[in-house]
């Protein structure tokens, strides 16, 4: 494993994820479209792709931290709750890492069958979205003076579990597609191309996020 390549890859994919959250996510939110479900699906696709080609545990959580930091760059543009979004992004990455560290999930996910890939998408999509939502609704109030009220979360559970189905359905399509894209292995391309390419993409993401 080339640590430098992994580090640069983490920066690039985290930045792409962050930029998409700030632009596409904010747009979907303003349009009152299911921003959370769509962004969870995109995040999962990026995490699945990077886990497959870099094969590095913890990379996806680091990507989550980088992506969430983008939320602080364009406070004026975002239509939703900045702290909630930051917590949600990190929570999703944490759940993804946890899920793939479970041996039975990992064995199932690794099998090269369409059924396994689609079902992995459903499980990961539903768990990351619903789990992320629950963690966000629990953590964010603790960051405010108001505090956490259990009844607020309980009343929200039917909505969270129902909305998780949209994320599951979208991920059922997106995860197999992301796995098909692993045919293009970015990690193995020539260093002369890899470092300039990933650096330019990363800088562009940060630049765009700052100016919008």
């Amino acid at each position: 494993m080339n640590r430098k390549r992994i580090l640069i890859g983490t920066l690039m994919f985290g930045s792409i994820w962050g930029l998409l959250e700030c632009t596409l996510g904010a747009f979907l939110h303003l349009m009152h479209l299911p921003a959370g479900a769509v962004m969870t699906t995109i995040a999962l696709a990026l995490m699945v792709y990077t886990r497959k080609i870099y094969k590095q545990r913890g990379m996806q959580l680091s990507m989550g931290f980088i992506a969430s930091s983008f939320k602080l760059l364009n406070l004026g543009f975002i239509g939703g709750c900045v702290w909630c979004a930051m917590v949600a992004i990190i929570a999703e990455a944490l759940i993804f890492e946890t899920m793939l560290s479970l041996p039975f999930i990992f064995r199932f996910y690794e099998k090269n069958r369409v059924f396994n890939k689609v079902l992995s998408g459903v499980i990961l999509g539903y768990t990351c979205y619903s789990g992320g939502y629950i963690i966000t609704e629990t953590i964010t109030p603790l960051l405010t003076s108001t505090g956490f009220f259990l009844m607020d979360l309980i009343s929200l559970m039917p909505l969270i579990l129902l909305r998780g189905i949209t994320a599951a359905a979208l991920s059922a399509i997106a995860i197999p597609l992301a796995l098909i894209f692993t045919g293009f292995n970015l990690y193995e391309i020539n260093a002369r191309i890899y470092y300039p390419f990933t650096s330019i993409i990363t800088i562009m993401c940060w630049f765009i996020a700052v100016i919008i």
């Binding site: 900045v82 059924f115 405010t144 009844m151 607020d152 189905i165 949209t166 059922a172």
Partner: protein, 129 residues
Amino acid sequence: MNKNVSITIVGVIALLLISGCISEEEEKSTINGLKIADRTFTLKELFAICEERNLDEHSGIALDDMVIKAGISNPEEYTYTIIASDNYQKTVKWEDMQKGVLTNESFAVFPHLPKMYWVRDVIEVKQNE
């Protein structure tokens, strides 16, 4: 076609159909009245009796005054649960009510709190011990 692929496709279609039903929860109800503690008011009544508060982007009636006008004595001793027509609810403290407004679209806005505390289509404000 492989049996597993068929099952997978059927499963995905079923999930998409179920998720399509979720749009139902996005529908807004028509507000006939807003229940505060045990009394019910129309928005028009509330706007007639309550003090107005202007925030940067939103204006409406002051939530703290609304609670007082609804007849709750010693309001600072309670927390308040703002309930929406889709059962979404958020509980806030008296200090939060003192900074919040209820707009003429029955939208409870707390500018100092994250937007997850902003409740659309409010139908009830409940006082908690």
